[in-house]
Subunit: 792 residues, 2 copies
């Protein structure tokens, strides 16, 4: 490439660097028309310089290849604290001012651009939803590469340039994410171009990858299956030449891979995708040293290299020299507009990385075609008269979703090696697991173009799905309940993204992040205590109310309704918890629909008095196993104390419990009081930690009478019923809890209580001898005959 | 090695395999003295066969090298669901029966051994605290290698053999953990021998590493800095020879590295440690196929390869043939005792891996030598009359701990690149960061023998510390508050480990897992919303009460007391949340001690009425920023409404809020009611999500009058005070909340309220213009003169 073109790129880069420094430091005098004074400098300097010049360097060079090759390119910025770069560049290319017209492309706009950065009421210092062109919150490190791959799946024409900082590269999720190349099919998917940015330092330490022996570094990435290209140095012009030549070579390589894989007769072999290792100084082009201490090319440049530019004349001089060193007069005209020959370097329209529709996935989102779930519903002639595996039915539903949207290629199912174990394997009737490594003749359900993604990393499953959703597609993540905590912090970041996005009119809604949590705490027969933790609901409930939904369908038909519903929603985090084991079924499709739409309701057929009669006692449940045990307890109570008026309430949508003032799904106090009474004991059998129910209901009238049974952190490898007993969630303990709160029937209650205690002893002795539950437990069926007449 | 020795090892292996199958399947007829009948087979078959024969194979071979070389070897079993192996081997070597005398080393014991496995009242199917020789819960995958390294640090004579399953190897934490070799010093630390076990399959999928191109696989581990040795095959005798030869070579290599690094003149270069890649069939020696389907060397052998051995004669025949194929008569004598020539293969005494003291770290734990924290305390002449950075003082304390225990080498500090950022850098006066890569002359605080461990991976920090604690040492993990969620699931597993360990008399207490959470939600000026999440407390509070402690010291001296206290405790998870920014100080050392010992108390000096007078209002706080704002609110109220009787309560130990029946630190209802009154409004300023306070106090008399202000998930990059305002935790909102609940002073309250509203508007306008807080906020000091006279 000729020198003059490189010189233009260099000026573009300087413009971005100038704007980056300006954002960190200045609130006035943006073009340095006058000498820099204290009052031009912000009183609080908040931001990160160190990574920023490297990000600007990459942006400028990507612009060139986009223009030359007419690419759709998404920039995923792993070092997200380089916010100044990711704001400066959209401003330079014009996409910023289109979204935020108040930040114009002139000196007035530049002043606002500078002032707003890390300023109250302004924009955050990290790459965030507010940043045009981004799908990736830059706060918590580790997910850049996995988001990049998620974006590339089923986007054959997209190239995702993913900058991975060498700090981030030390995290676990990032270290695993390199293996995503084993799941990317070059024929149907786009390309990911990882750019490992070795600037050498974190906050106060060198990075592992930057200090490794160069041969080991190369070997590592070859081992991961990439072909690494090295761009190393600090002289800007030499680096421009090297980067441009390397990018050209790499883009040709990507194109070749795609042409070959999309032609007939493709071998199906996984290609060795190229990647770039960019080694450039941290804080490149910034002050070399400050107060006699090394800053450039060292960790001291991480945040604000000159810390007291407002209060200290010497520091301010360093800042001014630094900024003037970019030769602002060679970059902007008198009005503060980028000079035309530089503006011409950026792509135009939707090709600008700040305006790429994929980075505002809601723009591209198409609703899924969904089957009629009722056609798949289980026949439940009477409550308890059918048996079924809830998630198996859900699998059939997902199979239909897969099939109906196969052509659109906009739905994927993620899971850590558990799709079949979680009994969703009906999906394999219509698709396979994507697998780009060797496939043996005896392998089952592996293919180059599968739409189910399985890898033993919850981080990868979650991150891929996030990237997929954020670019306008749909999906569901099925996971063992206990291990979903592995991605707690990822959920956190996604919830924050959704919360902020919803406040930005220009960000269009994306499909919800849907979880199926199964193999849950109550049925961990194979795996025991380590696999028993129902606390994800507690974690999620801390997030903003309008984003979060927690569903506990008690049986298969309710699970179908909930699944169908969740796939129709947007901008939410839907957590569905449901078991996979054979279990009694309660509701017909129509009943399930009515019940789920309300989210909470009285089950007349399970109550011993009509709904309009004030009961002596409320038994409530949320979750499949708790519902079964609560029903069994109701039956025991009804048999022992036939005059007792019991109302049975089931909760599918946990957020209905919260006050309507706190959650959009919360029922009003009037409705709640009518259902749970004002003063009667409520025995609540809940799937998870009992506290959550208290937390959600503490403002309700009758809260003081809520007695919640749930997981008490008592677990091991044992029988299903024994797990319930260990945690006092079983029918006997629930019935005992009820009679202890009753004001009447005291004598009969006492006898009944003693009988229940004996039952518990009997159970304990039985399971320890036989290793399975007592026949009366195993064979228990809800006795519909008695109760079905109750409402008459 | 001669054939006869290998044949003996093969028999030992067969014995372990036999016992493994027996545990999964049988409840009687352990030696197959009679034909296998249905009633000999357990009714519920729970366990995992697939990985087990490989684990047994490794165990048998490690036994040989331990004996030959007199090694202290710890076996960390990554594929922890291979529980049968890790129970069978201690039984064979006798360590099992020493710990569990009821499981004797004969046929009667063997029957019990079989029956108890995955049986109610028995032992879990996964490697667990119940498993002798283990420091590693085998449920959630990802942490084997990082635990292994944690165990090896400062244990120069220990060799940690760490089996990494190829499933686990796909996880993020494991992928990052390979880089732990950059933090292990061969001179002072022991050796970790990773054994990557490629058995090819997970639950229902092949594994990435097993299907990778062999050159890529080798390149990957060379890139990680290891020297991989391959042991591959399926013919047992050939594999025994290969494994024995490889282990000999590897042990020589380890010894050479250690001799060289411990001699004078060591270069300090990081060695290329050996590792073994063991490729053997999943379900090795089990049924080749069942019902016409491939089982051995395929994922179908993952759990129970013959599923209906009780109910189906054909299946039972397969099981019987399989077990008899091990030739039980060549393994055990008539009494069911291991034959002497096989028993002689195991090491003896504490060299047996099931009896290694390091695997029961409490046996080796020595108390830390701790400094007199009061000698480091800040001088606080009057409340609010001193300023200080709490964590900087803590750093000084930790420096002393480091120095006092330098010789014992049993204390380490972990952090993800944040030790200095978190202002604990005083520790660098006496030690450095351990760093085994290149060190440049201009680097600061890096050394080959540093005792601070920094890597940008919370997973690695946490896992190393766990391994270190579990083998009997001490430490502290300092972390940005928001990112501690990254390790939620690791905390989970550790809490479960502690809970179960405490129920086992033979497991001796280990040092507590101590966290400092700082750079917290209220002071994320540089980083904004992505870094704002105080929910770890909620997560931890779900764990068993006797394990969990949550501390919110309001200033530096209280932080010192809490730190000192936590380092003296055992078997706990102590979470300390404290800020690093300059802040007003409230208590002298003596006052801090009294206050912290109680955990919660009235601050007379901040109240407007004596403690024995019933107040009109209680203002309470937990956390440093909330305390400052609550005090400022108290001052505002006291000034505006001088007749108002305000009581000020501060909570350091959050668990005191819970009922004494639920938590050992909970105060009694009488004490609680006395402090918080029975019916007066309580305005509670809390550091985290408000719900937690409700959850902890919902059973208290006055709960209905608790109004908790905390984090409402509203955040961005802004000023410190503005963050409080956004979440209504600031002095103005707190004072407003108070007057809204007052029954008296209504007229003056209304005026005061209007003034507070105006203040909020004024603040908002000011920060948006100036980018910093109003001078009256920045310069605010507690006015001791007025309030100090209150008690007189």
């Amino acid at each position: 490439m000729d020198e003059s073109q490189l010189a233009l790129i260099d000026r573009y880069w300087r413009a971005a660097n100038y704007l980056s420094v300006g954002q960190i430091y200045l609130m006035d005098n943006p073009l340095l028309r006058e000498p820099l004074k204290a009052e031009h400098v912000k009183p609080r300097l908040l931001g990160h310089w160190g990574t920023t010049p490297g990000l600007n360097f990459i942006y400028a060079h990507l612009n060139r290849v986009i223009k030359e090759r007419d690419l759709d390119m998404l920039y995923v910025c792993g070092p997200g604290h380089g916010g100044p770069a990711m704001v400066a560049n959209p401003w330079l290319e014009g996409s910023y001012s289109e979204i935020y017209p108040e930040i114009g492309r002139d000196a007035v706009g530049m002043k606002k651009l500078f002032k707003q950065f890390s300023f109250p009421g302004g924009v955050p210092s990290h790459v965030a939803p507010e940043t045009p062109g981004s799908i990736h919150e830059g706060g918590e490190l580790g997910y850049a590469l996995v988001h990049a791959f998620g974006a590339a799946f089923d986007n054959p024409d997209l190239v995702v340039a993913c900058v991975v900082g060498d700090g981030e590269a030390e995290t676990g999720p990032l270290a695993a994410a390199w293996h995503s190349n084993k799941f990317l099919n070059p024929r149907h998917d786009g390309a990911v171009l990882p750019i490992l940015h070795l600037n050498g330092y974190k906050i106060a330490n060198p990075t592992i990858l930057a200090r490794m022996d160069e041969r080991e570094l190369k070997s590592l990435f070859q081992g991961y299956g990439y072909d690494p290209f090295f761009v190393e140095g600090s002289d800007p012009m030499a680096m421009h030449g090297l980067m441009a030549a390397t990018l050209d070579e790499v883009m040709v390589r990507i194109r070749d891979i795609q042409v070959e894989s999309r032609a007939e007769g493709w071998s199906g072999a996984r290609p060795r995708w190229p990647m770039i290792v960019l080694r450039s100084p941290k804080g490149w082009t910034g002050p070399v040293d400050v107060d006699g201490k090394k800053v450039e090319d060292f960790w001291r440049s991480h945040q604000v290299p000159v810390s007291n530019a407002r209060g200290d004349d010497g520091h301010r001089k360093i800042l001014e020299d630094w900024m003037r060193g970019y030769h602002v007069e060679e970059l902007f005209d008198e009005e503060g507009r980028l000079l035309p020959e530089l503006a011409a370097l950026a792509p135009t329209g939707a090709k600008r990385m700040g305006a790429l529709p994929h980075a505002n996935g809601g723009l591209l989102k198409k609703d899924l075609i969904l089957p009629d779930w009722k056609s798949l519903a289980l026949d439940v002639p009477k409550p308890g008269a059918a048996n079924g595996e809830a998630t198996r039915l859900m699998g059939a539903y997902l199979r239909e979703v897969m099939a109906l949207n196969a052509e659109a290629r906009n739905f994927r199912l993620m899971g850590p090696d558990e799709t079949a174990s979680n009994r969703l394997d009906a999906v394999f009737d219509v698709t396979d697991r994507i697998w780009m490594e060797r496939i043996e003749p005896y392998d089952i359900g592996l293919a180059r173009d599968g739409r189910v993604m399985e890898v033993l990393s919850e981080h990868l499953c979650h991150g891929w799905l996030e990237g997929y959703l954020l670019t306008g597609r749909h999906g569901l993540f099925s996971c063992y309940e206990a291990f979903i905590h592995i991605v707690d912090s990822m959920v956190n970041q996604h919830a924050k993204w959704l919360k902020t996005s919803a406040e930005l009119e220009w960000r269009k809604p994306i499909a919800s992040l849907n979880y199926l949590l199964t193999s849950h705490v109550w049925r961990q027969d194979h795996n025991g205590f380590s696999h028993q933790d129902p606390g994800f609901a507690d974690f999620v409930a801390n997030k903003k109310a309008d984003i979060v939904r927690l569903y506990f369908p008690p049986d298969a038909n309710t699970l179908l309704w909930v699944t169908d519903h969740c796939l129709r929603t947007w901008n939410r985090i839907n957590v569905i918890t449901a078991g996979k084991q054979p279990a009694p079924q309660w509701l017909t499709a129509d009943e399930a629909e009515r019940h789920c739409k309300a989210g909470v309701g009285i089950w007349d057929w399970a109550s011993t008095c009509p709904a309009d009669v004030e009961p002596d006692l409320v038994i409530a449940s949320a979750g499949d196993v708790p519902t079964m045990e609560a029903l069994a307890a109701t039956e025991l109570l009804a048999t022992a104390l036939p005059d007792l008026k019991i109302r049975f309430v089931n909760v599918v949508d946990l957020m209905t419990l919260q006050s309507s003032s706190e959650h959009p799904h919360g029922v009003t106090d009037a409705v709640f009081d009518k259902m749970f009474t004002a003063d009667k004991p409520v025995i609540f059998a809940y799937h998870g930690y009992p506290y959550l129910i208290h937390r959600l209901t503490y403002r309700r009238t009758n809260h003081d009478n809520f007695h919640v049974h749930g997981f008490r952190e008592e677990g091991t490898t044992t029988t299903p019923f024994d797990m319930a007993v260990l945690n006092q969630l079983d029918r006997f303990h629930l019935a005992l809890a009820a009679i202890r709160r009753l004001q009447k029937f005291t004598e009969r209650s006492a006898q009944f209580g003693a009988a229940l205690e004996r039952k518990l002893e009997e159970h304990k002795a039985y399971v320890r001898e036989h290793g399975e539950d007592m026949p009366e437990i195993r064979d228990w069926r809800w006795s519909t005959t008695r109760n079905s007449s109750l409402g008459e």
